[in-house]
């Protein structure tokens, strides 16, 4: 049984994702900050995308760059990049998303309790308009075909 992933639009310009992992914070934090571990889960196979590059320097002021391509599709690779504003080992990561205008600042916290870790990912957009635009674009950063199909299905529901 998988732990539940929850999403909430906490305010006009903030999106929050939470999930608990059955492991101490230092292990979960490692998986978020070591590129060889990060690339194993950030773009799972079900997304239908392939990770071409995963450069991560998880230190305060360090940069990251991830490049993806759609498997079997003639599309330009997508690139995501930014820098780490704050890195507190085993507890807190703050990074910018600079691939587009009005990108969010992402704050991820790791809270350990009884050997389990609650991970909270918060995307804070510069304005309500910026988050509304992200939603209107339809892009989630995951680009999973199954989800696109689900979305199409949901839109056809009358």
């Amino acid at each position: 049984m998988k732990n539940e992933t929850k999403v909430e639009r906490k305010s006009d310009r903030e999106l929050v994702v939470t999930r608990t992992f059955d492991a101490p914070a230092r292990i979960v934090f490692d998986a978020w900050t070591k590129p060889e571990l990060l690339k194993r889960w950030w773009a799972p196979k079900t997304f239908g995308i392939e990770m071409l590059a995963c450069e991560v320097d998880a230190r305060t002021g360090g940069k990251y760059r991830m490049v993806f391509t759609f498997t079997g599709k003639d599309m330009k690779p997508m690139e995501f990049f930014g820098k780490y504003i704050e890195v507190t080992p085993c507890s807190r990561l703050v990074w910018t998303n600079e691939e587009g205008v009005d990108g969010a600042v992402t704050t991820t916290t790791f809270e350990e309790k009884d050997g389990k870790t609650l991970v909270t990912v918060s995307d804070l957009y510069p304005s309500k308009e910026a988050l509304d635009a992200q939603i209107a674009s339809g892009a989630t950063g995951g680009a999973c075909e199954t989800h696109q199909q689900l979305d199409e299905l949901l839109v056809t529901l009358k």
């Binding site: 994702v17 999973c144 989800h147 529901l157």
Partner: protein, 115 residues
């Protein structure tokens, strides 16, 4: 952007967070179906399917109508608005990621125990 109550969003998420219920919605896009037919299609008991349909009904995604002894299901009066659909896709994206992260974390835990 239209504001939706949290309870309503929760009901929508709960309704479509389940594989069978998404399957039922897909099925109903193709045409109305009786609960018996849906139960058959998804290899479930009648009681199990009634519960799923009940959740979809509460969320306004499905309506049912009883004619004689047959209860027929059809798509409900409400389609998910754009924001709800996006949030669900966003949630599903993170859930897929995190389910894979579980495997990485388990492996790291095992390695730590061996050391």
């Amino acid at each position: 952007m239209v504001q939706y109550s949290k309870a309503r969003l929760d009901a929508s998420f709960a309704a479509i967070s389940d594989t069978t219920r998404r399957g039922v919605l897909e099925q109903l896009v193709r045409g109305d179906a009786s609960i018996t037919a849906l139960a058959d299609k998804f290899h479930m008991t009648l009681t199990g399917m009634k519960k799923h349909v009940g959740v979809l009904e509460d969320a306004g995604l499905v309506t049912t109508e009883k004619v004689g002894r047959v209860r027929t299901c059809k798509l409900g009066p409400r389609r998910l608005d754009e924001e709800t659909a996006w949030l669900e896709r966003y949630r599903a994206m993170w859930a897929a990621r995190f389910d894979t992260l579980d495997d990485v974390v388990e492996e790291l835990k095992r390695k730590e125990n061996i050391r």
